[in-house]
Symmetry: C3
């Protein structure tokens, strides 16, 4: 519970309305009731503003006149909302302790302010920093280091020698440091190429559930600071992902590709190996990237959804496209000659 005036002060935004109004929680414009604060960041939801029962709404200056209740005026309502929600929902920390059922090798260093949950395994020479919270069932390999205030949910697997920065948040089922996919052809069979590098993860990185990040073959796979990875992403060996890049779920980045800083990559995108993607590149969902991208901007591939019958007709024609193009050129030539 916090007064609206105090909340506005902490968020550094202008209050229009009753500073003494008490706010206990956040909610959407449609569902909010008394004591709740909502936000309007996307014009998609403007229709809900007039009838909102929220005690206050965070919105842009230009929406302020239309607000029937108290307003917090912000040039970036979504960010202000995120900050308010964080203030109103402080994270509950695990108690700093090593659970009796956890197995910690003697040479591992666990900061006394860290929390290791039930059924974890911490291998030799691992170094777990201050305030780190490790959820139940995690396996932390030899020589792994995890920086201050990082948090691992349940059943995360970190392989040997991986280095994780501060304030990381790693969701359940994520696997970091598994072997890269490297094999030398040997007379119709495959000979495994040892994967001798590791994974280096910067500060303030979030890694989604069941996302996998392979260790480098020679040299490391690198996730720079502030990168946000959604669920079920596959990052192959020796990839580098630049600072503050965000990647949506189920995307795959093949080996040795380097992604720039502040990129935004949609879901289920595939970037093939050995490419360089510039800073500030945005890629729409399910695109296939087969060449390097040198200029920032928005990129896409794919074909539009259609009814299956219509799609079948057009898809068959895709296989005739080169022929169609040649025939079109021939017609143009023929008409010009006339």
């Amino acid at each position: 519970m916090i007064s609206l005036g105090e909340l506005a002060g902490q968020l550094g935004v202008e209050l229009v309305g009753d500073a003494s109004c008490n706010i206990a929680a956040v909610a959407t414009l449609q569902t909010a009731g008394p004591g709740q604060i909502s936000f309007l960041a996307n014009s998609r939801y403007r229709r809900y503003l007039a009838s909102t029962q929220a005690s206050a709404v965070i919105l842009r200056p230009e929406d302020s006149d239309a607000c029937p209740v108290n307003a917090l005026v912000s040039s970036n309502p979504y960010l202000t909302y995120a900050r308010a929600a964080t203030l109103l929902n402080p994270q509950v920390r695990q108690t700093a302790a090593i659970h009796l059922s956890a197995v910690v090798e003697p040479s591992a260093e666990i900061d006394p302010t860290a929390a290791i949950a039930a059924n974890c395994y911490i291998a030799a020479d691992a170094c777990i920093g201050p305030g780190v919270q490790i959820g139940p069932g995690c396996a932390i390999g030899q020589g792994v280091s995890i920086g201050a205030d990082s948090r691992l949910a349940a059943n995360v697997s970190i392989a040997d020698d991986v280095q994780i920065g501060q304030r990381a948040l790693i969701h359940s089922g994520a696997v970091i440091g598994s072997d890269g996919f490297g094999f030398a052809p040997d007379q119709g069979e495959w000979f495994k190429v040892p994967q001798l590098g590791s994974v280096i993860i910067g500060d303030d990185v979030e890694i989604g559930a069941n996302t996998t990040i392979d260790r480098g073959a020679l040299g490391n796979t690198v996730i720079e600071e502030g990168v946000k990875l959604d669920n079920q992403i596959q990052v192959a060996h020796n990839v580098r992902i630049g600072a503050h890049t965000a990647i949506a779920g189920a995307t795959g980045i093949a080996g040795s590709t380097s992604i720039g800083k502040r990129c935004q990559i949609g879901g289920a995108v595939v970037v093939v190996g050995h490419l360089t993607i510039a800073d500030d590149v945005h890629i729409t969902a399910m695109s296939l990237v087969t060449g390097s991208i040198k200029v920032s901007g928005l990129y896409s591939s794919g074909t539009p959804l259609a009814g299956n019958k219509q799609w079948r007709k057009n898809a068959v024609r895709f296989g005739q496209l080169d022929d169609m193009a040649r025939r079109l050129r021939a017609l143009e030539k023929q008409l010009k000659e006339k």
Copy 2:
């Protein structure tokens, strides 16, 4: 072991042949031998009927004449087969007990008929219903409720406050209730938006191995009753999946999208965020859905497979399609004017 007559009675279908014949197991038409029952549901397999060594075959009335052995006649042989297979292969239940190696917080309520396997962790205030079976290595968060007779395989992670209905079946590595992927842009960096909702799962839902379902940002992610999700599916925050919809492996549903009831979605489909998909929509594998679908039916996107050399030629022409269309229009105009 059951007599064919008794089996026909329990399945509620007509028997043509020897009611006293004993049936011990199910098998395919090609591999079945004495004491085994098979089925013919797909014309692809009709060629195996004449030579089958099965003691009985479940088939449609129109295939009954061609059956060289005992027959169970059903209008839906695949369903009848599934029922027969279920009768002949009763599930072996874990013994109702909490394994000594499991860690259960004192405030968790475990029904005495539930079974908690080795190395599980059950957090505070979780509520595990009658007949529930939880496999080894599962982590169940605070305040989670799991309804009667639900079953979790090994190494499943359920985050705080998730609610799961009755008779759920959740396969290994599935993660339910991980944070949604929500960040507010903040001067070239990302500020995490707290994910304050949960996941609500109805009765009779099956969730495949390594499938992930994120918790809602505000409000919940909802999986209605009877939904069947295959492996490695990604369900983002605030998605709703309608009752009895079935989704094949590796499909991704982006945030706030609502899928209708009884839909069938193929593998590796991507549905982008904030869409509404009607009831009874079918979508073929690897389609990209970028707009809402209002009418039930079969939808597709993508291009057909081809030899790489041929494909390269046509793929280049895809990038010239708009130009080709304009030139075609120009030719038509030119010819009309003549």
Copy 3:
């Protein structure tokens, strides 16, 4: 540490240079220093040869003249490098023991030379062969057999009755033997079809992190010897993958499809169900395979990446392709008639 002469002997390749030079490690051409050996297999890296600080380089006969340092001459430098790296980085084995925190059912047979890490669960009648290493948090189902010298990383889940050959390497989060996705339609709802088969995995198979392999419905899912599967692959029930086939990350193979031997399948490919893919087929990343492939070769589908504005124009035209083809044909006819 090994002398270059001894290394050349063990690798069976020709040495050009100082046999007494000591080699301690492998490194890339750019980063190698004294005591390190590098390799040149890909012309992409030839520019680094002249300035390398490596003590020796593994390269092809035709590159030997340009090598400023000691050379090991090989017709397959990448394979020779892989062998050298393996020699120089012998795998550290877990101590043969069952960790005190592991739970092993009395009827399971654990070879005395096997190593079972912390917090594992080994169910009844499982059979763990000589030299097997099982990482922390793994769950091994009833009746599972794991052949000699196989290795499981952390948090792997193997369901009942799965058979794994010798020298398998299975990475964290992999799930083998989960139920196939089989349901019979029953008046708008789904009735589960029992998944009664298992998974049979040959010798020398590698399975990536968070890859899932479902058990057969009737009969088994089969992964033949020498198959290499990258991370996050989905293999559905009753699939067969032929010997020495390699599949990159995030690919999905739908039910009952049979993939030939020595195939190479790129990342995020989808192969629909009930197909047969011949031996030695190569498929590029993100292709959709909807029909059987009878002839070995390189196959592709998809459309090229483009700037979003350009892509939108062309993507719209994709939906007009059949119309364009008909109009092109009409123009040709019209011009011919003149």
